[in-house]
């Protein structure tokens, strides 16, 4: 299989990818529109307060429309001719090396363009309502536009350097949006944490780029992939691991998962768009995009699988213990991305399913978050599910849309999540039975904690705070939720039945030869659904049948650990932060006292020497004569000694 994948590229990248012409030459506009919006809103200042948010929304909408037009155009081409390359200008030409600002529009990026612009547009619309009363609304929309632009740049880039640009851009937007309400110090801290952990991941990206240039002399996809098969296995393994490191940072995979929970500090639309639907999936995109490299390195793929499995279980366990609705959803995001990463690690057998799950997840998780936002909107920004309950009456639309998302995520047929997750677990089982079993276990836990969220929020008794008056959200918020809910319901079926999506992506990621597994697919599906239902049942028993205390019970050791994210922060703190702080403090001391102290010390020494020497100048003429006589002995001695 590896040879096949490599062959596609090594036969000459240029042949497959056509110069972008016609309507495809407008690819750059996809990015430019929201970027323009961000620039106008940021530079325009208060003058744009009135129309800014709407303009931003419109621009993203335009971007979506353009994306859709391109998509339709692309459908008009045969499967092999759906990749277009647009080179705008040479960015950093140095000798033989050059980085061009160029875009590559192919089925994979097309899928992302549609997801990003569509969900992004919906979130913009939603935010019009959600942020209506915020004085800094304009800035918020500017950041959102900036994010959309960066995300589009990330997925449309035709070289790793440009991917890196988008990669950092979304990181910046994420930082700005998480810290949007940074008047709260912990929100500011959360934003910083997210950025810094992402930067740790970026080490991988940087090093990968450096290694690519050294190895291939370029970072353009075409060049790198074409040369991949000629590179040594060591380089490929290294590249794979480095890209994985980058992906773990951006996609909150282990070991760089800790920022995502805190990132919920941002306004909920942000959580929906960035920390659920799009940005956090960039890592998956990166791995899938780099498939020619991963195809050639079993070791790298194994690492990817391991990260995916660990994270999906980790996120799932954490999700069971969270009372904060957004944090529970965040844990779930982490877990779901774990699935995608797992799938991506399976190689050609899983790439398409990873992206498929990414798409469906984008819809249902965004829907869930927007629903959560709607709930919070109605509950005066309270996020503690223990003070919710029985909201289905108060917020019917929210309930229904949230419910659709819920069913999709736990994989109930025929909701979207069922199709995508089912495929991943199947592929995993085919690859390795234990990986598959872990994935099934994850599905069960997912069902449990998502049911818990559902039950605690919409069912049971009212546990509201005294002055809470839950109400349904305005149309600008509910309409996007409805649209997303529709997607959660139908997208899976629409994409999977007939293998449409898989074949759509095939030119990019290749395809795996069918692999027969001992158990027929239908049985597997049955098992998965059963396990999920068991999870729902347990949740039902625990959270619907029993009253939910307002204060969280102490719980078992495991619960407490999960509630604390398995002490990830304590771990990071004791392993990195504290030693880092000590090191910093020590170095500051070292710098002041030792390095600078040496300098000042030498100066003081000269001064001291001066003071000491000065005492020889006693003022007594006889002492001076003595020193002259000593000098005479010295001078004559020196002359005589030379001749000895």
């Amino acid at each position: 299989m590896t040879a096949a994948a490599a062959a596609r590229w090594s036969e000459g990248g240029g042949q497959m990818i056509a110069e972008a012409t016609g309507v495809f030459s407008l690819t750059w506009l996809l990015i430019a529109l929201p970027l323009f919006g961000a620039a106008v809103l940021l530079l325009g200042g208060r003058r744009t307060n009135s129309f800014g948010p709407v303009l931003a929304t419109l621009l993203v909408g335009l971007s979506f429309v353009l994306g859709f037009v391109l998509f339709v155009q692309m459908l008009g081409h045969s499967a092999e001719e759906r990749a277009f390359d647009q080179s705008l200008f040479a960015w950093a030409p140095i000798g033989d090396f050059s980085v061009d600002v160029g875009f590559q529009l192919d089925p994979l990026s097309m899928a992302f363009v549609l997801l990003v612009t569509f969900v992004g547009g919906l979130v913009h619309v939603y935010s019009l309502g959600y942020m209506a009363d915020d004085p800094d609304k304009r800035r918020f929309f500017a950041y959102l536009n900036l994010f959309v632009a960066s995300m589009l740049l990330l997925v449309l880039a035709s070289s790793y350097v440009l991917v890196y640009v988008g990669w950092e851009g979304v990181g910046l937007a994420s930082y700005l949006l998480i810290g949007f309400w940074n008047a709260k110090p912990e929100y500011a801290t959360a934003a910083k944490k997210a950025f810094v952990m992402n930067r740790v991941g970026d080490i991988g990206m940087s090093l990968a780029i450096m290694l690519m240039v050294t190895t291939f002399g370029t970072t353009a996809f075409s060049g790198v992939f074409a040369g991949a098969s000629e590179a040594s296995s060591g380089v490929l393994l290294a590249l794979g691991l480095l890209l994985l490191l980058a992906a773990t940072g951006k996609s909150a995979q282990m070991p760089l998962q800790a920022w995502l929970g805190d990132a919920m500090a941002g306004p909920t639309p942000v959580s929906a768009l960035i920390h659920a639907a799009t940005m956090v999936t960039a890592g998956v995109y990166l791995i899938v995009r780099s498939n020619p490299i991963f195809d050639l390195s079993d070791g790298a793929r194994l690492a990817v699988v391991l990260v995916g499995v660990l994270t999906l279980l980790f996120g799932a366990f954490v999700g069971t213990a969270k009372d904060d609705i957004k944090k529970a959803l965040a844990a779930s995001t982490m877990s779901q991305i774990g699935y995608m990463v797992l799938a991506a690690g399976l190689g050609p057998a899983g790439y398409a399913f990873a992206i498929l799950h990414l798409m469906t997840h984008g819809f249902f998780k965004a829907g869930l978050f927007l629903g959560a936002g709607s709930v919070m909107h109605g509950m005066d920004d309270d996020v503690n599910m223990r003070r919710y309950g029985a909201l289905r009456k108060a917020m019917p639309i929210t309930f229904v849309t949230f419910g659709a998302g819920y069913l999709a995520i736990i994989g109930i047929p025929p909701f979207a999540g069922f199709f995508s997750k089912d495929k991943i677990i199947e592929a995993a089982l085919t690859d390795n039975i234990w990986v598959g079993l872990a994935a099934i276990l994850g599905a069960g836990i997912t069902a449990f904690y998502m049911s818990r969220v559902m039950f605690m929020t919409f069912f049971g008794e009212k546990r509201w705070a005294k002055d809470a008056h839950p109400h349904e959200s305005p149309g600008s918020m509910t309409i996007p939720m409805v649209l997303l809910a529709v997607g959660s319901v139908v997208l899976g079926a629409a994409l999977v039945i007939g293998g449409r999506f898989v074949s759509w992506l095939e030119p990019v990621v290749g395809s795996a030869e069918e692999h027969e597994f001992a158990i027929p697919p239908l049985a597997i599906t049955a098992i998965i659904v059963t396990v999920s239902l068991v999870g729902v049942a347990i949740a039902y028993a625990m959270y619907l049948r029993r009253p939910i205390p307002l204060e969280a019970p102490t719980g078992s050791v495991l619960t407490r650990a999960a509630r604390e994210d398995f002490y990830q922060d304590a771990f990071n703190e004791s392993l990195f932060m504290l030693p880092g702080q000590y090191l910093t403090r020590f170095l500051v001391f070292f710098d002041n006292r030792v390095v600078d102290g040496f300098v000042n010390g030498s100066a003081a020494m000269v001064g001291g020497g001066s003071a000491r020497l000065r005492r020889w100048q006693t003022g007594f003429v006889r002492s001076y004569a003595l020193s002259m006589l000593a000098g005479a002995v010295l001078v004559v001695g020196a002359l005589v000694l030379v001749r000895l």
């Binding site: 140095i94 090396f97 008047a183 801290t189 050294t214 291939f216 100066a603």
Partner: protein, 523 residues
């Protein structure tokens, strides 16, 4: 254009301006400022014209050359000319000059001892020295400018600084003189070698570059040159003058000092050290690269621990200079060109940081980070500028520093993979020092400290806008800079004997052999 002595005009104009400004009587402060600004704007126009007339791919190394005998007994000429690197750095200096003058418009007004006239005269004089340092193609002229430059900076810090200004000024001067005098010794040594090698002694770069020097002499002379530039750059452990100087100087001074003047060192490494001492440069490269990496990590770590904004910025510069030197001593075209772009980027980002910090300090009267908090609440545009400056410093894509940092890292990885891999840690540390400072200063609820703080004035806005524009322009479209710099870098490295770096898998069609060490890049 070719006959017009544009470089001399550029160099002399600020000195003339300085004399005029200094001669203005008390009470004509505003006129002094206006003249200073006008002079810098004229210089900017000249520089733009020069840049437009510059031929990047010309055969001769220098353009706009002027040469007149000066001290013939020692073969010293008044010789100026620019290559791509010098052009870019002069452009940087000249672009920043009006910005800092505008940004520091009132910095000298409340000084009880000295007149603003003196301040602006010194700034202009400094600018003149900077132009000469970059334009000199005669090593003696270079040295003269290199040393004379100390005088205005010394007075700028000592007369118009704050806090421990005297200590800082003296420390700066002595540190620099110490290096400078050793440089002088080495320069004379070089001259003596030139007498022996060429028959007549000379300080002419075109004759000295590539001159055969026996390896041992080369090493000694290299040491003299490098030591001076390592102090100036500044490299750990010779950096401690910088935080003190930056903490005491006015933002305008710091900007010119750190943003432009210290580039002289890295510029000289490219212009002088490598072409004249190629063998010694290769010999010392591992050592230099090690020091550079130490500077990167050490500077960043110490920056994280600072409580004074100015000191913090100074330490970030230590870290950034590490990158620049790493790029230079990578001996790859990518690293070299990258380092020049990095110099420009660092000039811009440091200027941004110092200027915004100056705005903040001016309002608050303190440069201590803990004495701020929640600035974003009361002065959102100012906070935005601050964040922008911080992002420019941490090499956010789309900004100039990203171009420099990425290319430096790529270029140095080609030759020194381990060093480059360690240097990458710098990108995490840079995000830490920038964001921690931003968090403490700008975020959180508005504290008592910043209540009533005014947002930026129009003048401050106008001063800062060009930096934003340039930072983004170079970040988005650095090609013009590369086009100008590349030939010069190529020429610089052509003096070396290092093997050119070729991609392991260069061309799909011409693949014959490749080999990459197992596990490379996993550090």
């Amino acid at each position: 254009m070719n006959d017009f002595p544009v470089l001399t005009t550029l160099g002399v104009l600020p000195f003339a301006g300085a004399l005029v400004v200094a001669a203005l009587p008390r009470g004509r402060e505003l006129l002094a400022k206006q003249i200073a600004l006008a002079v810098t704007l004229v210089m900017l126009a000249l520089t733009v014209a020069m840049a437009l007339a510059f031929e990047p791919n010309a055969a001769e190394p220098f353009q706009f050359v002027e040469k007149t005998p000066w001290i013939e007994q020692f073969g010293i000429n008044y010789a100026v000319g620019v290559d791509g690197i010098a052009l870019v750095l002069i452009a940087l200096a000249v672009s920043l000059a009006p910005v800092v003058i505008l940004a520091g418009w009132n910095d000298a007004d409340d000084n009880e001892r000295h007149r603003p006239q003196t301040y602006f005269a010194l700034l202009l004089a400094l600018l003149g020295c900077i132009v000469y340092v970059f334009a000199a193609t005669d090593l003696f002229l270079f040295y003269v400018a290199f040393e004379v430059m100390l005088v205005p900076v010394y007075f700028l810090i000592g007369m118009f600084g704050r806090g421990q200004r005297t200590y800082a000024a003296v420390k700066f001067l002595l540190y620099s003189l110490f290096g400078g005098l050793l440089l002088l010794a080495a320069l004379i040594g070089l001259y003596v070698v030139s007498v022996r090698e060429l028959g007549t002694g000379t300080f002419d770069w075109t004759l000295l570059a590539g001159m055969p020097i026996d390896p041992d002499t080369q090493k000694i002379l290299f040491a003299g040159f490098f030591f001076a530039f390592a102090i100036k750059a500044p490299m750990v452990p010779l950096h401690t003058w910088l935080p003190d100087a930056a903490a005491s100087a006015t933002p305008a001074t710091s900007t010119l000092l750190v943003g432009v003047l210290d580039k002289v060192a890295t510029f000289a490494m490219l212009r002088l050290v490598i072409p004249i001492f190629p063998d010694a440069s290769e010999w010392a490269a591992p050592f230099v690269v090690t020091l550079a990496v130490i500077s990167i990590v050490y500077g960043a770590l110490v920056a994280i621990g600072q409580t004074d904004m100015y000191r913090l910025i100074a330490y970030t510069s230590v870290s950034h200079f590490g990158f620049i030197i790493l790029g230079i001593f990578a001996f790859t075209e990518i690293g070299g060109s990258g380092s020049v772009v990095y110099m420009v980027a660092h000039g811009l980002s440091t200027a941004a940081l110092f200027i915004v910090a100056g705005y903040l300090v001016k309002r608050r009267g303190s440069s201590l980070i803990p004495s701020f908090g929640g600035v974003q609440r009361v002065a959102p545009i100012l906070a935005g500028f601050f964040l922008f400056a911080g992002l420019a410093s941490l090499a956010m894509p789309g900004m100039a520093s990203f171009v420099g940092e990425l290319t430096v890292l790529i270029g140095s990885y080609q030759r020194w993979p381990v060093a480059a891999a360690i240097a990458v840690i710098g990108i995490v540390l840079s995000s830490l020092y920038v964001l921690i400072m931003y968090q403490r200063v700008a975020t959180g609820p508005a504290t008592e400290n910043v209540k009533g703080m005014r947002d930026v004035f129009p003048r401050e806005l106008v001063a800062f806008a060009p930096i934003i524009a340039l930072t983004i322009a170079v970040g988005v479209f650095p090609k013009p800079v590369f086009d100008v710099v590349n030939p010069a870098i190529e020429r610089t490295y052509s003096f070396l004997n290092v093997e050119p770096v070729e991609p392991d898998v260069p061309d799909v069609d011409a693949l014959t052999e490749y080999g990459v060490t197992e596990g490379e890049g996993t550090e």
